[in-house]
């Protein structure tokens, strides 16, 4: 880029008499260049996306989850078998070209059941995250925005709910309501939104004192408008991270409940139910029955966790330069 002549100028010694005399004349327009902004300014989301993309582990998680979503939709149609179709002649078959992931003790195709399980797990996880999000944002938003006594009372309630042992309450509810897909999601979200509400409230409290919120208030903007236009976009970062991390928690809880016999019931299969049914294979050696559901639970949770971590790094405005 530099020409040969300027290269040589760099090496001119300050004491040198070589400096041409006409260099000692005023430089025109020098002051303007100091004021130009060097770095292009990027929008918050674009900037976050660029940073997320450079995080290979998080992107790996994202790609895995996209593939998993696709397989959850089309996977079961790739085989001639159904989720509960038992083929008594083919019990406990190891993986083969006929049964890609093998069969279980009732002769059901593990491949088909695994993708059905993906549907259940993803559905439970995403529904739980969405419900937590909705309730938490509304509750935390109101609490933080109203402040004062309302906030105090609402946070007292949250504090008590937070003190309740989460899984014990879930177990109790499921014992009473009877396990099914909808009751599991209900039980998981009855106290699950509390964490989200706390985060939202903290964010709202922090941001509502900023100048620009005062500014729009003084222009007479309505509360709902301020929440929608000013508070929500600025609180989205931590909320998205929290949602991403809620999903694996819910997936784990569902699998855990299945293990206690409180999972989704026949004929639907979830990964937890499959793993629980396959517990006996520790001794019998039909490893594929345990391996596939266990692997996919772990991999899915791993993917969501690394994606959540990546999002946290990417969305944290404090790290922006």
């Amino acid at each position: 880029m530099k020409s040969q002549t300027t290269q040589s100028h760099d090496h001119i010694d300050s004491n040198s008499k070589e400096i041409p005399l006409d260099w000692f004349k005023p430089l025109e327009g020098a002051n303007d260049s100091a004021n130009t902004v060097v770095r292009p300014s990027l929008s918050y989301w674009k900037d976050a996306w660029i940073r997320l993309r450079s995080n290979y582990i998080a992107m790996g998680g994202l790609i895995f989850l996209i593939l998993l979503g696709i397989m959850a939709i089309i996977g079961p149609y790739l085989t001639p078998y159904t989720v509960d179709g038992t083929i008594l002649a083919d019990q406990n078959q190891p993986p083969s070209s006929t049964y890609w992931f093998g069969t279980d003790n009732l002769g059901r195709d593990v491949f088909t059941r695994t993708w059905y399980g993906a549907r259940i797990s993803l559905f439970v996880g995403i529904m739980a995250a969405l419900i937590d999000f909705t309730v938490g944002v509304i509750y935390g938003g109101i609490s933080g925005y109203k402040g004062g006594r309302t906030d105090n009372l609402m946070m007292r309630i949250v504090e008590i709910l937070y003190g309740l042992p989460y899984l014990l309450v879930v177990i109790l509810l499921l014992v009473v309501l009877g396990p099914s897909l909808s009751t599991i999601i209900l039980a998981l979200t009855v106290t699950g939104w509390v964490g989200m509400a706390r985060i939202v409230r903290g964010q709202v409290l922090q941001i509502k004192n900023y100048e620009y919120v005062h500014a729009s208030k003084s222009f007479g903007a309505k509360t709902s408008r301020i929440i929608r236009k000013n508070l929500l976009p600025n609180t989205m970062g931590p909320i998205i991270v929290q949602m991403t991390l809620t999903v694996p928690t819910a997936i784990f809880a569902e699998a855990f409940l299945s293990f206690l016999g409180l999972g989704v019931q026949f004929p639907v299969a979830s990964w937890g139910v499959m793993a629980n049914d396959a517990l006996t294979t520790i001794l019998s050696g039909h490893w594929w029955r345990l391996f596939f559901p266990a692997f996919f639970i772990s991999a899915t949770m791993f993917a969501f966790n690394v994606l959540g971590d990546g999002l946290q790094d990417a969305l944290d405005p404090k790290l922006r330069r």
Binding site: E159, G163, P165, V175, F256, I282, I297, F302
Partner: protein, 310 residues
């Protein structure tokens, strides 16, 4: 400080009361619960139930009698085990569960803190990446998956450890490992991030500017502050360990309370479910109370602004 403790104590009692009431209301709502069962097949069981829950009285009176029985730690009879009360089961199972739980939480705390501190001190180094990979894996692999994996590899295939039950220290290794890994991972991550933050604080620089030895800077100045957040999540971790014992005891056939609890769920042994839930909840809430007090003792600022620090 006294006011703080009193307030926490009140919260604890309130929480236990809410759980007890919730349990009572929910159990009253389902058919097949002790309150609604017409006749159990077993005469003796029915008699016990009626005696304990005063089924002839109106529900509101039952409720107060129930509260009183909880206050006196009497959780009533089991339906499915005619000769046992919930207290019998707790007496038999809880010490074993507690042993497993305490060992697991100690292992998790110790290894998690060490891992987290090392990772923070070698930030972006190999140890850091290694520790954090272990941590993310530890969080992602559910304890029951890890448990089965451990049994298969180290007990059945390797033969290094006995497969199941709870008799000797060798029996304890695998269940402890399976139970402690998740909490360890959480502690390690939290310790690391909190340590990294503390290490950038001025008082750390100040401590170094005093010429203190590195270990002194880390242990005396950084660690105590960095462990504050870890103390706050101890309650949650304990809850995780406790519910973890349910599946771990089931998988390893350990005759602890968790195993009885899972059995009672599968057999719909409602008094046992009720009793165990209330007992465990009370236990956890009490542990949370102790953690709060410990936090208050550790952090001299607590008296001034405890509500702010979330």
């Amino acid at each position: 400080m006294v006011r703080y403790i009193l307030k926490r104590f009140f919260m604890m009692i309130l929480t236990i009361w809410i759980i007890a009431t919730l349990t009572f209301v929910l159990m009253n709502a389902i058919p097949g619960s002790p309150f609604n069962e017409e006749r159990t097949s077993n005469e003796a069981v029915q008699e016990n139930l009626e005696r304990h829950f005063n089924l002839d009285e109106p529900p509101i009176v039952q409720y107060f009698i129930y509260l009183k029985s909880i206050a006196t730690l009497d959780f009533g009879p089991s339906i499915k085990k005619p000769n046992s009360t919930v207290n019998d089961l707790l007496g038999r199972g809880f010490p074993i569960s507690a042993e497993l739980g305490i060992i697991a939480i100690l292992v998790a705390l110790l290894s998690g803190i060490v891992l987290g501190v090392l990772a923070a001190l070698r930030h972006n180094g190999i140890i850091d990446y290694l520790a954090m990979t272990i941590a993310v894996l530890g969080i992602s692999i559910p304890n029951f998956v890890l448990a089965t994996l451990l049994i298969q590899q180290l007990a059945v295939n390797g033969g290094f450890f006995p497969v199941a039950t709870w008799q000797s220290p060798m029996h304890m290794v695998l269940p402890t490992l399976a139970l402690a890994t998740g909490p360890m991972a959480i502690i390690a991550r939290l310790t690391r991030s909190s340590m990294l933050e503390v290490l950038t604080q001025d008082y750390i620089k100040m401590a170094r500017a005093k010429g203190l030895a590195p270990y002194k800077v880390v242990i005396k100045h950084a660690l105590k502050n960095a462990l504050m957040p870890v103390v706050t999540i101890l309650g949650t971790l304990l809850a995780g360990i406790l519910t973890g014992t349910f599946v771990i005891e089931k998988i390893f056939a350990i005759p602890g309370m968790g195993k009885y609890f899972v059995e009672s769920i599968n057999q719909r042994d409602y008094p046992v479910i009720m009793g165990t839930t209330v007992f465990y909840s009370a236990f956890l809430v009490f542990a949370l109370f102790l953690v709060d007090i410990a936090y208050g003792l550790l952090d001299p600022r607590i008296k001034l602004h405890k509500e702010e620090g979330n």
